[in-house]
Structures are given as structure tokens and as C-alpha cells.
């Protein structure tokens, strides 16, 4: 109901979707920054995981009954989507890791800045 943020009743008010979304946003941005700043391929991979988790947080938040305040409600779609994201993230990690290892085998390095043969 109240979109303003009161420090006084911080612990007496239930968290809403916005709170979860904020956490998700932090995770997302951290992940994106990881991808942008890490030179280690596995660091980039970790950034991706964080980004996916940030996104997942939104799915879960919108699919949760406890956070409902009359807004959008995904119902069962929320957790199911989150589940698919988790599973696909696992698959993605496996493939990315395989790529990273291959890259390491071929270049003796996992610095993504060295993987720039495709530059224009």
C-alpha cells in the first residue's frame, strides 16, 4: 500500500515484491558488472549465474502469494519459470565450462580478452 520507505517500521512490515526486485536488481547488476569487468572466463560465467539469479528472483517474487499486494500475480508460472531457468543455467554452465576448458586447452589461457579473433 505504501510505496514510501519508513525506517521505523522496517521490521514490522512484510517485504513486498519491490523488495525482492531490488535484491534481484542488485544481483543482476553485480552479475552484469562481473561479466563486464572480469577477464577470467570463469568469472564471466559466474557473472552469468548471478544475472540469472537476479532474474529468477523476479519470477519467484511475482509468483509468490505472500508478496501479493493486488498487483500482477504470475501464479504457478513464476516458480515453473524459475525452475526452468535453474535447470537451463545448469546446462549453460556445463557447456560454457566445456568451452572454457577447450579455450584453455587451445590457448593456454582463460583470459577472455585474448579470445578476440572475431573482431572486425
Amino acid at each position: 500500500m505504501n510505496s514510501t520507505f519508513h525506517l521505523a517500521n522496517l521490521l514490522t512490515e512484510p517485504p513486498g515484491i519491490a523488495h525482492f526486485m531490488t535484491v534481484g536488481a542488485v544481483l543482476f547488476v553485480c552479475g552484469a558488472m562481473c561479466m563486464a569487468t572480469k577477464r577470467n572466463a570463469l568469472g564471466v560465467l559466474m557473472g552469468i549465474e548471478l544475472v540469472l539469479n537476479g532474474a529468477n528472483m523476479n519470477f519467484v517474487a511475482f509468483g509468490s502469494q505472500y508478496l501479493q499486494n493486488g498487483g500482477e500475480y504470475l501464479g504457478l508460472d513464476g516458480p515453473l519459470m524459475a525452475l526452468f531457468v535453474i535447470v537451463l543455467a545448469a546446462a549453460e554452465a556445463a557447456v560454457a565450462l566445456a568451452i572454457a576448458l577447450n579455450f584453455y586447452n587451445n590457448h593456454d589461457s582463460i583470459d577472455v580478452d585474448r579470445a578476440d579473433q572475431l573482431q572486425g
Binding site: 563486464a36 564471466v44 557473472g47 579470445a115 573482431q119 572486425g120
Partner: protein, 808 residues
């Protein structure tokens, strides 16, 4: 058994031959040695059909629809005859007549049938193929007494023919089969693999097609099976495809039929365009509405089932015949014209299929097929289809259309009978006899004798199949078709000879005049002559020819039939080589002959102690409203008398005597000339040389068609081809040359400067832009991520700005 079982029973009877066909097509020669078991499968299938049809008739139809007593019919004749005594009365009276007859008939029928119009019939759809706008195509059924009768008749005869063919086609089991009539280049005979299985495969398909035609519930389905019957006959007539004559005959049959089908399509379109339905019966749609069928539309209950063009037909007709004059009472005749066209159109199809003048030429040539096929084609299937369709479509024929039918039938029966007199090929005699008998049927239907015509169809089917199978037996024995090489065969093959004698007696209508005892043809032919008599009495004038011709035809029938029998079986053998070679056919061939002979004798009888007879059965199916006398609208002087009127004793007496007298005359003449040899046929031939030449050459119909149609068409085609080569090809070449020159000039002037320049400029721009973009393509994943983030931000900001600008 409940009457609701009828569609199922008949569907089984209908589809079993299809199953047999499918099995044989798929397995073919692998069925036993040389495909021998294909024959058993096919025979089994048609036997199942027969049993199912008979179960449908005796188990499901008759218990639910008891037949009227013949004596009641007699009573109704009285009433009908009464009405006919004032034929010139106002047309409104004739309804009263019809209804009087109806009332009597109603007593005779089951008590719950309050109305004569409510003839028992079952109709519905099994499966809807689809609906395109108004056009709805379904697989449906329309089952009434006629359907059941036809099913029994067709399947019974087909079963006999199948069994017979097992023996007749035995040669085809040899591998290789030697066709003695085909000569190959080195002077020998053609050797080819046996086609036993293929023959039975076609027979099964043929039976399936004919049964489908009979059970069909709408015109579209009828047309489909109509064409299937046609293609089956094509296959079977051309069974000995290596023989040039067989191939030609098949083509001829097929193409001639197409001419008739063209007319039929026109008739179907005329009906559909104005009525918007193909169905015979009224159908109830899933949402509970009743869609009236063709018959209900044309003969509505409000109009006492008189044929009145429905309003939409009048409107359609007025659009089609914009300049039609209106009748005196303000109404338009347009609807009647349309009805006439539809009727004649449908009849055109029947003309082709039932080999009526002028499309009769294919049927005699169809003798090139194996004899069992001829038997089937000539009795139960192909040619019966046309007559059946006229009978089925009867409610839609206006009196004028009926007159056309009658005239065509009359011409056909006369011409065919005269040709049959001179033919020497045993099968050809029978073929022209068929054409002639079909003419009788058409004549009867055209004159209002609905039941008589269809009754003749049934009786004729039995004795004509008998006759053909007998002739097949003879051919099988002597290996020749030419009667001049036969003679005296009755001593060698008595069963064949005497069953054929039965057939001959049946076809000439042998019986004790003025009593109810005779062979089957006796009843049906007399009924036709009675109807003709009734018609001629009602409509004076030139219509008497429609009476005279059938009577004369009866005499000719008797003459040529007995000429055939005497030349074949009586007297002394003319060719001893063939005579010595002759032998009686095996049991598998003669048993069907005996069965058919029994039917040829007895099918016209009423089963003792019951009312069961084919006539009574057919009366049950008589379409609503046609029992009454009807009057022409376009041709006001035309009156089609009610069929009941023809049973009046005075007509019966005269017609019976006339028919009997004619038959006896013909029989006597044949006996005198061919048995006693009192008169020498050669001398007679000499005397009537021009007439004989005319008849021998089949009235020059083939030559006429050749000269009038085929040769002009060919000549025209050659001219047009020459024109094509000389003018059109040259024109095109010139144009091509011109285009090439012009394009060369344009290529230099325009293409290479303007078009190429534009394209190259664009390419250069793209290249430069690509070089620009290339700097962004750093290959670094991390920078790409930054681009994505930046892009997201820009997108957000842009959208927000636009929103802010738009809503603030």
C-alpha cells in the same frame, strides 16, 4: 430385425466387395497359384453381399413394411379408371383422382401410414466429406423398397456371374496365357501372364460401384459411383487390352459415356443452382433444422406432391430465361423450363449409360469383354444404372421431360430390334436385344409406367444375364461367336440349350394370355404395353406410334431371339470341326445357369399365400405424387396417365392380346425360316437387299458419327495445327527476335549506367558503413556486455522520455 439395421446391412453388402478389391489389389498374384484364390475371395465377398442384401430384404424390410395385397391394387385401379373417364376435366380434378387412389392404397398399407405420400424410406448421411459454402458433399444413403430390391437383384446376379466366371476365366490361370486373337510381329500369338486375379479384382470393384450407386443418398454420390461404374466397365471391356478391337471398344464405351455425363452434369448443376441441395431425402442437421431434399422441394406436401417448381427455381429460371413469355395466369413458365432442362440433362447421363439412341453405339462393341462381364454389364450393373437413375429421379421429371424419355426409348427399341434381326454374332444379337429392352424400360418410364419399367428392369436383369451366360457357355464350347458356325448344339450341351430356351421364352414374354401365369417377361412386358396403350388412348394423335412400336418390337424380339436359338442349338451342325469340339460346360458354370433359369421363370410371380412379389415391392417405393395423372405445362396437350389406369380390364385385355399376338407372330416367323427352313433366309436377304444392308450396317450409325463428328474434328484439328505452325510460331519467333534486339540496346544504354551505378553506390555505402561498424566489433565479450547494459539504459530512458512527453 429392426428396420434401423438396414443401413448397416446394406453398407456391409456394399463395402464387402470393396474389401475384396483392396485385398486383391494389394496381394494380387500372390493369392494362391497364379492368383487363383483371388477368385475365391471375390466370390466370397459377393456372396456375403448377397446374403446381406437378402437378409436386408427378408429380415429387415419385409417384416417392417408388410406388402399390400394385390387385390387392393386392383381396387385402386377401379378408382383410378373412374377418374380417367373425364380426362379433359379441369386439372384440379386430377388431384382428387390421385387422392382417391391414395386413399385406397393407404388402406392397403400399414395402418400408421396415414398418407400415401409417406412412402417408407430411410435416409441419412454416414460421413460428410466437406462443406464449401452451400455445397455440401456427403456419403449418405437413401433406402427404400427400390434400393432393397435393386440390392438383392444386383448382388444375386453378380454372385452368379462371379461363380460362373470362376469356370469361364479358367484359361487365365495358365501362365503364360496364349491369346489366339492377337498376332505379334513374328506371326505367332501373344504370350502374356494370366490375369485371373485382375479380372476378379475388377469384378469386385464393379459390384462395389454398382451397389454404391444404388445406395447413394445424394446426386453427387450417385455421380461419383456413376463414373466408377463407367471406369470399371472400361477396365473390363478392355480386359483383353492387347486386342485392338477390345481397346477401341473400351475407349468407345468410355468416351460415349462422357458425352452423356456432360448432359448429366448440366442437369445436376441446374438442379443444384436452383435448389441448393444434392440430397434425395430430407436431412436433419445437428442443430435440429430440417434440410429439404430434392424430392421434397419439388413435390411439397402443400401441393399434394404435384410437381411444382419451387419459388427459388422460378427465380433462377427467370434469370436464365429472361425472355420467356409468361403464361396466361400471370405466372412464369421459367421454372418449368428449368425443370425440363434439369430432367433432360439427367436423362442425358442415363442415355449414355443405358445405351439409348443416339448413344447406343458403344454397347454392342462392348461385347469385346469376356462374356461374364457382358452378362454383368447388360443385366445388373452398367446399363441398369441408367434406368435405375431415371426411376430414382422420377419425381424430378416434368411431363415434357418424360415425353422426351419415352420418345428416345421408343426409337431405341425399334432401331435396336431391327439391327438384332440381321446380326450373326451371338453376343451381338443379345447386345442389341439388351438395347432394345432398355428402350422398353425407358419408354415405360417415360409414359408414366414407373413400376412397370423398373419391374422390367428386374426381370430383364435375370433373363438377360441367363442368356449371356448361356451364350458364354456356348462360346466356351465352340470358341466362336459366329452363329453361322454353330447349329445342333443342343445335343452336345443340353443344360445350356434348355436354360437358354427358358431365357428366350422369358424375354419374349411367353405366358398364357389373359391369365396370371407366365414367365417373368410376360408380366413386365405386358405391363409396359398396357401403359403404352393407356397413354395412347389418353393422348390421341401421333402418340399412337408410342404404342405401335413396342408391339412391333415385341414381334421382332421373338423373331430374333428364336432365330438365335434355332441357329445355335437346333438343326444340323454347320461346322463339324467346331461341333466335334463342343462339350457341356463344367458344373461351376452350369449351376449358375440353372439358378438364373429358375429366377427367369419365377421372378415375376407372387409367392403363394403371401403378397410377396416384385411388383408389390416396387409399389411400396413408388415416389409420392407420381401415381396421379399429371399434365404438361409447357405442352398443355400432354397428359401422362396414372399407372393405375393401365390396369383397367379393357386395356389389359387388348394389350395382353396384342403383345401375345406379336410375340407369336415373331416366333412363328423364326420357326418357319430357321427351324423348318420353309423359307430360305438368303433369298429373303436378297429380296430386301437395301433394307438388309441398312440393318447389317447398324443403320450406319458408326459411319454417321465418323463422318459427322470424328472426321470433321480431325480435319479441323489438322487445320488448326497448320495455322499454329505457320502463323503463331512465326509471330512468336519474330517477337523474340525483336525483344532480343531491344534488350541489347537497353543493356548498354540503361543497365550499365543507371542500374549498375545505383547498385554500386549502395554497395559502397554499405561497405563504408560496415567499416564503421567494424570498430564496434571488438571481439571482447566484456565490451559486448557493456553494450547490452548501455542499450538497455538508453531504451529505458528513451521510452520514459517519450512517455513523459506524451502524458505530462
Amino acid at each position: 430385425m429392426d428396420a434401423s439395421a438396414l443401413p448397416t446391412l446394406l453398407a456391409i453388402a456394399w463395402l464387402t466387395p470393396l474389401a475384396s478389391f483392396t485385398v486383391i489389389v494389394l496381394l494380387g498374384k500372390s493369392l494362391g497359384p497364379h492368383g487363383k484364390y483371388a477368385g475365391y475371395i471375390s466370390v466370397g465377398a459377393i456372396l456375403v453381399s448377397t446374403v446381406m442384401s437378402l437378409v436386408a430384404l427378408f429380415g429387415a424390410w419385409l417384416p417392417n413394411h408388410p406388402l399390400a395385397d394385390a387385390s387392393h391394387h386392383g381396387a385402386s385401379y377401379e378408382a383410378g379408371a373412374h377418374g380417367s373417364s373425364s380426362p379433359n376435366a379441369h386439372s384440379g380434378d386430377s388431384h382428387a383422382d390421385g387422392r382417391a387412389a391414395d386413399a385406397h392404397a393407404a388402406d392397403a398399407h400399414a395402418a400408421d401410414e396415414a398418407h400415401e405420400s409417406e412412402k417408407p424410406a430411410y435416409y441419412g448421411d454416414w460421413y460428410a466429406l466437406g462443406q464449401w459454402g452451400k455445397l455440401k458433399l456427403t456419403i449418405g444413403y437413401y433406402i427404400d423398397a427400390l434400393t432393397v430390391t435393386m440390392f438383392s437383384m444386383v448382388s444375386l446376379i453378380a454372385a452368379c456371374v462371379h461363380v460362373y466366371a470362376l469356370g469361364y476365366m479358367h484359361d487365365e490361370l495358365h501362365d503364360p496365357y496364349v491369346d489366339h486373337e492377337v498376332h505379334v510381329h513374328d506371326g505367332g500369338h501373344l504370350h502374356r501372364p494370366g490375369r485371373f486375379h485382375r479380372f476378379f479384382q475388377y469384378l469386385s470393384l464393379f459390384s462395389f460401384s454398382m451397389l454404391g450407386l444404388v445406395i447413394a443418398g445424394n446426386v453427387a454420390m450417385v455421380f461419383v459411383f456413376w463414373e466408377l461404374v463407367g471406369i470399371c466397365s472400361y477396365f473390363l471391356i478392355g480386359f483383353y487390352i492387347e486386342r485392338q478391337s477390345a481397346s477401341n471398344a473400351a475407349n468407345k464405351a468410355f468416351i460415349t459415356n462422357r458425352v452423356g455425363d456432360f448432359g448429366m452434369l448440366i442437369g445436376m448443376m441446374a438442379l443444384w443452382a436452383s435448389l441448393g441441395t444434392f440430397a434425395f431425402g430430407d436431412l436433419t442437421t445437428p442443430d435440429g433444422q430440417t434440410e429439404l431434399g430434392i424430392f421434397s422441394r419439388l413435390r411439397t406436401a402443400e401441393n399434394d406432391h404435384r410437381l411444382v417448381p419451387p419459388p427459388e427455381m422460378v427465380a433462377e429460371g427467370e434469370r436464365t430465361f429472361a425472355s420467356t413469355e409468361t403464361t396466361g395466369d400471370g405466372g412464369s413458365n421459367a421454372g418449368h423450363w428449368l425443370l425440363f432442362i434439369a430432367g433432360v440433362g439427367i436423362f442425358c447421363g442415363c442415355v449414355g449409360k443405358s445405351a439409348q439412341f443416339p448413344l447406343h453405339v458403344w454397347l454392342p462393341d462392348a461385347m469385346e469383354g469376356p462374356t461374364p462381364v457382358s452378362a454383368l454389364v447388360h443385366s445388373a450393373t452398367m446399363v441398369a444404372a441408367g434406368v435405375y437413375l431415371v426411376g430414382r429421379f422420377y419425381p424430378a421429371f416434368s411431363p415434357e421431360a418424360l415425353l422426351v424419355i419415352a420418345v428416345v426409348g421408343c426409337i431405341t427399341l425399334t432401331i435396336a430390334a431391327t439391327i438384332a434381326i440381321t446380326a450373326v454374332d451371338i453376343k451381338r444379337v443379345l447386345a442389341y436385344s439388351t438395347v432394345s429392352q432398355l428402350g422398353y424400360m425407358m419408354l415405360s418410364l417415360g409414359l408414366g409406367g414407373w413400376a412397370a419399367g423398373l419391374f422390367h428392369l428386374v426381370t430383364h436383369a435375370f433373363f438377360k444375364s441367363l442368356l449371356f451366360l448361356c451364350s458364354g457357355s456356348v462360346i466356351h464350347a465352340v470358341h466362336s461367336n459366329d452363329m453361322r458356325e454353330m447349329g445342333g448344339l443342343r445335343r452336345k450341351m443340353p443344360i445350356t440349350a434348355y436354360t437358354m430356351l427358358v431365357g428366350c421364352l422369358a424375354i419374349i414374354g411367353a405366358g398364357i394370355p389373359l391369365t396370371a401365369f407366365g414367365l417373368s417377361g410376360y408380366y413386365s412386358k405386358d405391363a409396359i404395353v398396357e401403359q403404352a396403350w393407356s397413354f395412347a388412348e389418353t393422348n390421341k394423335g401421333a402418340y399412337w406410334l408410342l404404342l405401335a412400336m413396342p408391339v412391333v418390337g415385341a414381334a421382332m424380339t421373338a423373331f430374333y431371339m428364336f432365330r438365335l436359338w434355332y441357329m445355335t442349338f437346333a438343326g444340323k451342325p454347320r461346322n463339324h470341326h467346331r461341333y466335334d469340339h463342343a462339350h457341356e460346360s463344367p458344373a461351376v458354370m452350369t449351376r449358375p445357369l440353372l439358378l438364373l433359369a429358375f429366377f427367369a421363370i419365377a421372378v415375376g410371380w407372387t409367392v403363394p399365400l403371401t403378397n410377396l412379389s416384385v411388383t408389390n415391392l416396387l409399389h411400396q417405393a413408388e415416389p409420392a405424387g407420381i401415381a396421379a395423372t399429371s399434365h404438361g405445362v409447357l405442352l398443355p396437350s400432354l397428359t401422362v396417365p396414372a399407372e393405375a389406369l393401365s390396369h383397367a380390364p379393357e386395356i389389359k385385355f387388348k394389350a395382353g392380346l396384342a403383345a401375345f399376338g406379336a410375340a407369336m407372330t415373331g416366333l412363328l416367323a423364326a420357326t418357319v425360316i430357321y427351324l423348318w427352313n420353309t423359307l430360305n433366309p438368303a433369298e429373303i436377304r436378297q429380296t430386301f437387299q437395301p433394307v438388309y444392308r441398312l440393318l447389317w450396317n447398324k443403320w450406319y450409325f458408326d459411319e454417321l458419327y465418323s463422318a459427322a463428328l470424328i472426321r470433321p474434328t480431325m480435319a479441323l484439328g489438322r487445320r488448326i495445327a497448320a495455322f499454329d505452325r505457320a502463323v503463331i510460331d512465326e509471330l512468336i519467333h519474330g517477337l523474340a527476335w525483336l525483344s532480343r534486339g531491344v534488350s541489347k540496346v537497353f543493356g548498354v544504354l540503361f543497365d550499365q549506367t543507371v542500374v549498375d551505378g545505383t547498385v554500386n553506390t549502395f554497395a559502397d555505402w554499405t561497405w563504408d558503413f560496415g567499416l564503421l561498424l567494424r570498430r564496434l566489433q571488438t571481439g571482447s565479450v566484456r565490451q559486448y556486455v557493456l553494450f547490452i547494459v548501455a542499450g538497455t539504459l538508453v531504451l529505458f530512458v528513451a521510452v520514459s522520455t517519450v512517455q513523459w512527453l506524451a502524458y505530462s
